[in-house]
Structures are given as C-alpha cells and as structure tokens.
Amino acid sequence: MLKFILRRVGASVLVLLGASVLMYILVINSGDPLADFRESNDPRAAAQMRSRIAAMGLENPWYERYWDWLKGVGGCFTGQCDLGNSVNGTSVLALTEQAAGSTLRLVTLATLLAIVLGVGLGILTAIRQYSAFDYTVTFGAFLFFALPVFWAAVLLKEFGAIRYNNWIAEGQYAPGTILVIAAVLALALAGLLGGSRRRRLLTGAATFVFVAAVMFVFNMIDWYRNPSFGLVMVVLTSAGAAVLVTALVSGLKNRKALYASLTTVAVGAVIYLVLAIAGVLAEPTWLLLAGLFVLALAISVGIGYFMGGYAKKQVMMITGITGTITSLMVVVDQLIAHWASFLGLKSRPISTIGAETPQFGGGFWESALDKGAQLLLPTLLLALISVATHSRYTRASMLEVMGQDYVRTARSKGLSEREVIVKHAFRNALIPITTIVAFDFAALIGGAVITERVFGWKGMGQLFQQGLNATDPNPVMAFFLVTGVAAVTMNLLADIAYASLDPRIRR
C-alpha cells in the first residue's frame, strides 16, 4: 500500500510540474499586461509602462520568469513561501490564503450537502425505480445539470434574495401560495412513500392538511419574522431522527439500539437545558461550540457502548449519528431563536454580494446568521448541480448492484429488505461513487469561479480570473497550485478509499 501511495505521489508531482510549465506559458501569452495603458494618451503612461515592465520582469524570457516563480514555490518546503506579488504589488501568498479560506468555506458545505442529498436521492430513486417520484427526480436532475450557472445564479439572487427580502418585510404567505405549497409537498411525500393507491391518497391528504394548517398558524403568529423552535421541537425532531437512523442501520427490531438512541436524545435534551439555564450558549465562541460537540459525541458513543449489548459497534454508530443530529438541532434552535434580533439588525437579511456584512454589529448568533444567510444562495447553487450528478450516478450504480446474483441470494436467504439494501447493495454501490465525489470536490474548488464572481465572494476563482484579466501570472499560478494540489490529493484519497471499500484493489 505504501509503495502504491508513494508511486502515485511521485507521478502526481511530475504531472503538476509539467502542467505548471504549460500553464505559465499559456498565461503570460494570454494577453497584454500593459493593455490598460495602451489607450491612454496621458504623458505619464510611458513612465507607468516602464515601471510595470520592471516590476513584472516582462523583459525576461519566459523560462527565467517561470524559474523565479518556481524558486519561490520551492521555498514553501523550507517554510519561506513566496508566490510573488500581483501586478499591483500585493503579496500573492496573502491573497491566496484569504481566497482559499473563503472558497473552502463555500465549497465544503456545498460538497457535504451534495453528497448526502445526492446519494440519498439516488438510493431512493433506485428503490422506487420508474415511480412518479423517480421520474420527477430524474427530470429535476437533468434540469439542474443543464442549468447555466451564471444564469441560475442571477435568478437565485432575484428570487432568493431581492424578492425574499421584500417578502420578509411583511412575512405573510397569501392563502393561495399556502395551498400550492401544501399541494406540492403532499404530492412529493405521497410519491416518495409509495404504497397502494389508497395509502398514497391518505399520505397526500394528511400532508396537505398538516402543511396548510401549520402555514396558516405561522401566518397568524408572525412566525416568519419571530420564529421559535424550542426544546420540545428539538426533542421531537431528534427523536424522529433517532428512530429513522436506528431503522436504517440496525432495524427497529433491535430494541437495545432503539433505546440507546432515544436515551442519547434524552441526555442531549437535558444537557441542552442545563447549558441554556447556565447561559453558556448566549454568547459562545466557535471553539466552545466545537468543544461541546466533541463532548456530545463522546457521551453519545459512550451511551452506545454501555447500552449496545451484542451489537456494540453498530449501536455506537447509531448513537453517534443521533448525538450529531441532536447537537445540530440545538444549534438550529439557537439560530431560529435569534432570527428576530438578526432581522432587527439587518432588515434585508440576504445580500446579493459578499461573504458577510462588513462591520456587522450583532452578537455571535446574529453574525452566524449573517454569514449563514450569505452562504445560503451560493451553496444552494453549487449543491444543486452536484446533487444532480451524484444522484444519477448513485441511482445507476445502485440499480446495477441490485441486479447482481449475490443480492438475489441475500433476498432468498430471507434477509429483510433493509438489510439487503443497506448491508449488501449500498456498500458495493458506493465504490464508483467515491471516485466521483472526490473528483467533484476538487472540481468545485476550481469550478466555483462563476459562482464566486456572481455572488461577490473573493475566492480562488476570483484570484484566477483577475490574474488572467491582467495577464498577471502569479495569482493564476497560485490558483493552479491550490486546485492542482487539491485535485491530486483528492485523487489519492479516492484511491485509498477505494481500497478500503473494495478489498480486491488492495493487492
């Protein structure tokens, strides 16, 4: 395995080196770095051109300029990183740090969301092949896949930001809108859950009535502007999740697992209550939250260990997931509770540009909401497109596996459908998806160019694009370095994950 990894790393370094030469030559020949002076009849233009030629070393041959750049990069191994200066004299290293930080913030969430949603949808559509649900998701996937990003982004800003902001000033849904939303949700849920015609009809009707009623009540209590979630809802949603996770992983027949996961929720609720009374969550820090999360995870896994019985490992996984979901719900509850004060600080909550509101005055939760609101639209856009890809691949891979002989064997052994799908089919279906997900992450870092630009994020894409516009090789090469290394690393990770998922590869 080590030899395999070393060989891959060695090859990757060579590929990166070759690509960097090519990239450098292409960039410095892509335009005229003095273009902005050419149409100027300012007598000072000549002096300005001279000073730029000297600063960028334009008179040197390409290999000298490249070598200078490479020497600076080589310094990174000795802790003296120098990626050069941009055309206006800023250190590219500082620019890259800032840009990489904001791109990662943007891409990480989008990737996670896309994986969870995409793989989930893929499995569901595979199980419900050729159902109305399947067709709808397929249609949606192709639609999103075909969307031009810049156009979708502009639409998203129009409806998700400008019109939403107009609407939230009042925060009331019209009765017609409520009925339409309820009907759509009813159709979706009925299709998803499936069953006989009578059962689907019942599901649909119940959903419709429930959603419509809730939305009318929300209107009445002005929920959209003054929302609350509360401990009861935290417990209810977490308990629901606990049951669902147990059903998926071990089956509800394993009572020990069910009780362990429900205990996790109960303990979580008690801790939340204690923290809330102690006021720890009023103004936390990210570090504190991370610490609490690690603690919560440890407690959950501990509960699994002590209550797990014969299937300790499995139950520990269930309680771990449940603990994570419960923690998430606590955060959601806090965020929702601070929505009203956030609206008070920022009457138009979603801006069309920027990663955050500059000099935003609020406390921890308000500024988290501010950053979250700015993250929402671009993440949605990036995720939508990746979800489309992931769900298609998962569906295809899942369908292929479901038709295999060993799945039929598993069924004929009398295993439950859950066990067949989760244990036998899904694990094997994951193998090809791993590669795609890894590549997708690498591609997202580079591919967020347009999204970043349209949403005014100063990320890697902006670095690349601005450098290219000015025919300034240093920022473009920094972009190349980060995305190139990310692509190579992700590729490597995919190979390793592959090996752990499929023992045949390890040899």
């Binding site: 335009g31 005229d32 273009a35 050419r38 149409e39 100027s40 009849n41 300012d42 007598p43 000072r44 000549a46 002096a47 300005q48 001279r50 000073s51 730029r52 600063a55 200066n85 055309v87 206006n88 004299g89 800023t90 250190s91 500082a94 620019l95 800032q98 840009a99 904001s102 031009p148 990003v149 810049f150 502009v154 800003k157 129009e158 930001a161 400008i162 902001n165 138009r348 979603i350 801006s351 069309t352 540009i353 920027g354 990663a355 955050e356 500059p358 000099q359 160019v449 347009i450 630009r453 349209v454 949403f455 005014g456 994020w457 100063k458 902006q462 694009q465 601005q466 290219l468 516009n469």
Partner: protein, 596 residues
C-alpha cells in the same frame, strides 16, 4: 469555460463617469450645481448613516496611490476621500480650485513662477500642519534618480516609484522655495509647462516619511536639499512600498493621516468585503454630509442586483443597452443618469507609404471618399443613443462635446462636410484618387469588442456601396503589436482623456511617440509646440483651433463619439453627480446624503 469567457469579457469595466446631467432629484438637500465644480452646500452637518458604493471587485490596498504598482482607481477612489489638494477635476473634466485647501497663482508667465498658499488651518488628521515640507517631498519624488542624482530628461531609473514619472523634475530643477513649517511654496519653472496647473495638488505626509526613514522633518528636508542618498533611499523605500497593505490588515491610524474630509475607519476593513471611511475630526473645511462611506469590493456585473437589494446605494455599471433597460425596470426607487465619458472613439488613417490612404496611393481624395461614406450619425443613433439619448457625433479631438470650448472650436475648424453620408460624392472622390475599385481597406481594432464589430459592420454596409471593400480586422493582438507596428489601414480605437492640455502632442506631431499612423504636418506640429510652450489658456484655445482645422483639412482621422457612461443610485440619495473624471461617481462623495 465558454460561460466564464462571456463573464470575463463583461468584466472589463472602464471606471469613469459621464457628464453631469440635470439631476431629477428634488429632495430638499439637493443643491443644483452651477458649473462642473462641486456645488456649495453651505453649512453641512454630518448625518448618521452609511452609503455604500463599489467600483469593482479589486481590494483597496494602498494609502499611497502615486506609485506605479498602486496607481489604480481601486485605490484612488478611496484615497480621494482622504486627501485634499489645490485642485480637483470637475464633472466636465475642467480643473476646479479647492479654496478650502489653499490658493495658487502664476505670478509670472515667462519664466513661469507659480506661488502656492496653503490654508492656515490646514492640518493632517494627526494635528501636524500641512506645509512646505510636504510639497518639497512631493517634488523630490519626481526629481531624484536611483543613485540620488537629479533627473536630466526623466527617463532614468527613478529613486521614488512615482507613477507619473519625473516630468515635474525636468521642468523645476531648483528646490521649490519656502520654509519648513511655512504655508507658502514657490515653484520656479525652467521652461514654460502648459500643464503646470495639474502638476501640483495633494501630497503625502512628509512627517510620516521622515519618521520611517529614521529622521525628522528637518532631517528629511536637509537630506533632500543636500542630496543625502542614505536618508533618501530609506525614505524612498518606505514611500514606494511601506504604505501598501495586505487584505484586511488595517494600518494604525498614525501611519495614514488624512488631509481630506474623511479618515480610514480603524474597524472598517473586512478582507475581501469592504473598506469604510468616517469623518475626519481635524478637517477644517465643510464637514462631510454622511457619517460613513463604505466601498464594497464587488464585481461590476453584480452591481445592478446589489443596487436593487440595497447592498449598494450608488453604482456605475457598464454602459450597455442591457444595463440601462435593467436599471430602468427597477422603477422609481432608483435614479438612472446617463452621460458621456472622458474617452472618445475615433478612426485613424495610416499614412505609411503603400497603405491605401497614404499620399503615394489614394491620398487625400481617398480619405475624403471614405469620410463621405462613413456613417457616423448612424453609428451614434444605432449604438450609442439607446444608452445615452443625448449622444452626439463628435467633431473634435482635443475638446469634448460636453465642454464649454467645444462649440467655439468646431465653428473654427469643421464645416460640417462629413455630417451626412453621400455615396455619390464618395464615388466621385474615389474616381479622383485614381485607384481601381473595389479598394480593400482593413479596419483594425482590439477584439473581442462587440460595439466595434458593429461599427465596422455599419461602415462596411455604407462604404462598400461607394467602391470600398471593408475588411473586419478585429484582432486580439491589436494593441499589443499591430497598432504600434503600423500594421493596419484604418485603426479604430479610443483615447482616454487625461485632463491635460498638451497630452495630444505625441499623437499628432511629426515623429511623435504615439503617432502610429506616421502622419506628418508641419502646421500641426508647430501648433502643438506653441501650445505646449505656453501657460496661457487663451493661447491653448487658439492653437487648438488651428490644429483641429489642419487635422480636418488633412483628414488625419475622424472622431466618432464620446463613450457613453451610466450611473444609478437609490433615489433617496442626494447630491450624487455623474462626472467624466477618472475616479468616477465618488468625486464629490463627501456631499452625498440620504434624504431623511
């Protein structure tokens, strides 16, 4: 990546403005301007509030925007709020005196001696008076070569990386006169300098440079006067790079004092997002109208939606028909103002031997034939008027249609003979030129540029009828190599105005550095020399009339239009005025206020 390409293209925004239109706002706080200079708002009280503006996605990064590396509108747009000086460019590009800052006059015209008097109350925001030493340093940054010797012709390697080069240092070769701490500075010019007014305005704080160079103001002044290379080099090092910062790294207030109505907000720089300025308590002039200005770093194509969402309050989007339609669809909450810019589109003929329009080929007759079929009015009607309804065909090179002198210059120089397309007359002129039709003519320009492609198409549809065969010569290498190499028959491009009178000399004089078409005319060259050798605006105008007349007579080329500009702002914003000057809308940002 095709989509990226489209976006990249549209991102090439030209920061700049258009001519001041009579604004439609009628809020009580709006003061109608009487000329291109800032309106007198009387007693201003700073109102609480924040006004957000963006010029583009590039981050502010330097307090000193006079260096070659930092001289960009992204820096100057913010720094304009931090510095005041003897003059500023008004909304029509003319030089306006800032009486709050001080006054100046040419006490003698030949030899040129200019005396500047700084306001007694003028101080940096740290309390240090603005005085002689600041101007001495300003001059020194344009005077010393890298080895500490004075410049001879301005082309040597300079000590200070002054973006404008060492031009001033070649004209003023003796130390500006004055006393340390004194409020008057006198410049003795060796030769008359036509653009002397633009040569001196605001300065960097000498006391900060002195401190960073390890000395004090007296020490720095002494070093300049004695040519102390040691101290000068340290000073230059700081001046060149010490005032540039990395994103979000707000410098300590004592390093970046302000001489203008605003100072940098110590809390106001969020990396990648925005930088804010807040009122300068030490500013002696009228207080700024609003307590905070925020410059956001956002790409131009996001501006319209950001304006509609209130993320920005004033924008200058790309002047395209699409943006204007989009802006107008936003309704009454947004005021749209269109005008002209300080950039003018034109065609130039190539006079180099062997080219169709050269004297040894078709000569003047063929140039006239082309001018007669050149549909300038149609180009303006079809391509420019949808953006700026008041656009006109431009008939001069040295003055713009929005300037006072324009009518005067046109009357003296241009008889209106090429106002209308006349295909028959054009055919006759071609016959006179003796060339056989169809005559292949390549119109070269920098591609991709949609508007210029359309212009060429319009020219082709008209001139092909007369007997030309117009070839679209759009090329990505146009500016890079083709233009200066003279590899074209007709060049289609634009010159950006600089606000200087003598800047066109190198374009039209015999053998001038920017005379790409090898045009030769002794009359024009003489007129330019006379213009450049005078400090008298009357003489400037007189010579402009002569050279415009000659350029029309010889048909050096043809001006087409001044580029259109678009600005838009929330209607509750008062005193926003479009300008043709380079730094765009915020040229009078200290006067902006929100209607209450």
């Amino acid at each position: 990546m095709a989509a990226t390409g489209a976006l990249l293209f549209s991102a090439c925004n030209t920061p700049g403005g258009g001519q001041a239109e009579p604004t439609e706002t009628s809020g009580s706080g709006t003061v109608e301007p009487t000329d291109g200079c800032k309106a007198d708002l009387g007693d201003v009280e700073t109102a609480e509030g924040e006004i957000k503006y963006s010029i583009g996605e590039d981050e502010w990064h330097a307090y000193n925007n006079d260096t070659g590396a930092t001289n960009s509108t992204y820096n100057t747009v913010v720094n304009t709020q931090l510095f005041s000086g003897f003059y500023y460019f008004g909304s029509d590009g003319t030089i306006c005196h800032d009486e709050n800052f001080g006054s100046y006059e040419a006490v003698s015209e030949d030899p040129l001696v200019v005396e500047y008097t700084i306001n007694e109350d003028a101080v940096w925001s740290d309390g240090e008076p603005i005085a002689y030493e600041d101007y001495l340093l300003d001059w020194a940054t344009q005077y010393f070569q890298a080895d500490g010797k004075p410049t001879v012709d301005g082309t040597e390697e300079p000590l200070f990386d002054f973006a404008g080069g060492m031009t001033l240092g070649t004209y003023v070769t003796t130390f500006p006169e004055g006393e340390v701490g004194g409020k008057t500075v006198t410049y003795n010019y060796d030769r008359v300098y036509a653009d002397w007014e633009a040569a001196v305005s605001d300065t960097m704080p000498a006391h900060i440079v002195a401190e960073k160079a390890g000395t004090d103001v007296a020490g720095l002044v002494d070093a300049i006067k004695t040519g102390n290379v040691d101290i000068l080099t340290k000073a230059a090092e700081f001046w060149n790079t010490g005032w540039a910062y990395e994103p979000g790294d707000m410098p300590p207030a004592e390093d970046v004092p302000s001489s203008g109505p605003y100072i940098l907000d110590p809390e106001g720089w969020t990396a990648g997002q925005a930088i804010s300025v807040i009122p300068n308590e030490a500013y002696w002039g009228p207080a700024p109208a609003t307590s905070k200005l925020t410059f956001r770093f956002a790409a131009p194509e996001t501006h319209v939606q950001a304006l509609s969402n209130g993320d920005l309050n004033a924008i200058e989007p790309q002047a395209t028909v699409d943006t204007v339609t989009q802006l107008e669809a936003l309704g009454d909450s947004v005021t749209v103002s269109t005008g002209q810019e300080f950039t003018w589109e034109h065609v130039d003929f190539n006079f180099a031997s062997g080219r169709p329009f050269a004297e040894d080929q078709g000569g003047l007759a063929l140039r006239e034939a082309f001018a007669l079929c050149f549909p300038r009015q149609k180009i303006v009607d079809d391509l420019i008027k949808p953006i700026n309804p008041d656009a006109v065909v431009m008939n001069a090179r040295e003055v713009f249609p929005f300037q006072d002198a324009y009518a005067d210059v046109i009357e003296a120089s241009y008889g209106g003979e090429y106002d209308e397309v006349d295909i028959e007359a054009s055919k006759a002129k071609i016959a006179e030129s003796g060339l056989t039709t169809p005559i292949d003519v390549e119109i070269s320009y920098n591609a991709p540029n949609e508007r210029r492609s359309q212009e060429v198409a319009l020219i082709k549809s008209s001139c092909d009828e007369a007997g030309f065969n117009i070839v679209d010569g759009g090329s990505e290498a146009f500016f890079d190599s083709e233009l200066s190499a003279g590899d074209w028959d007709i060049a289609l491009f634009a010159w950006a105005g600089s606000g200087l009178v003598a800047s066109g000399q190198s374009i039209y004089s015999n053998g001038g550095g920017q005379n790409y078409g090898k045009y030769e005319s002794d009359a024009v060259t003489e007129a330019w020399t006379a213009l450049a050798d005078s400090a008298d605006p009357e003489v400037h105008l007189e010579q402009q009339k002569i050279l415009e007349t000659e350029l029309w007579k010889d048909l050096h080329g043809m001006p087409i239009f001044a580029h259109p500009g678009v600005a838009a702002y929330s209607s509750e914003l008062q005193n926003v005025r479009q300008t043709v000057a380079q730094n765009g809308l915020p040229w009078n940002a200290e006067q902006w206020s929100m209607a209450s």
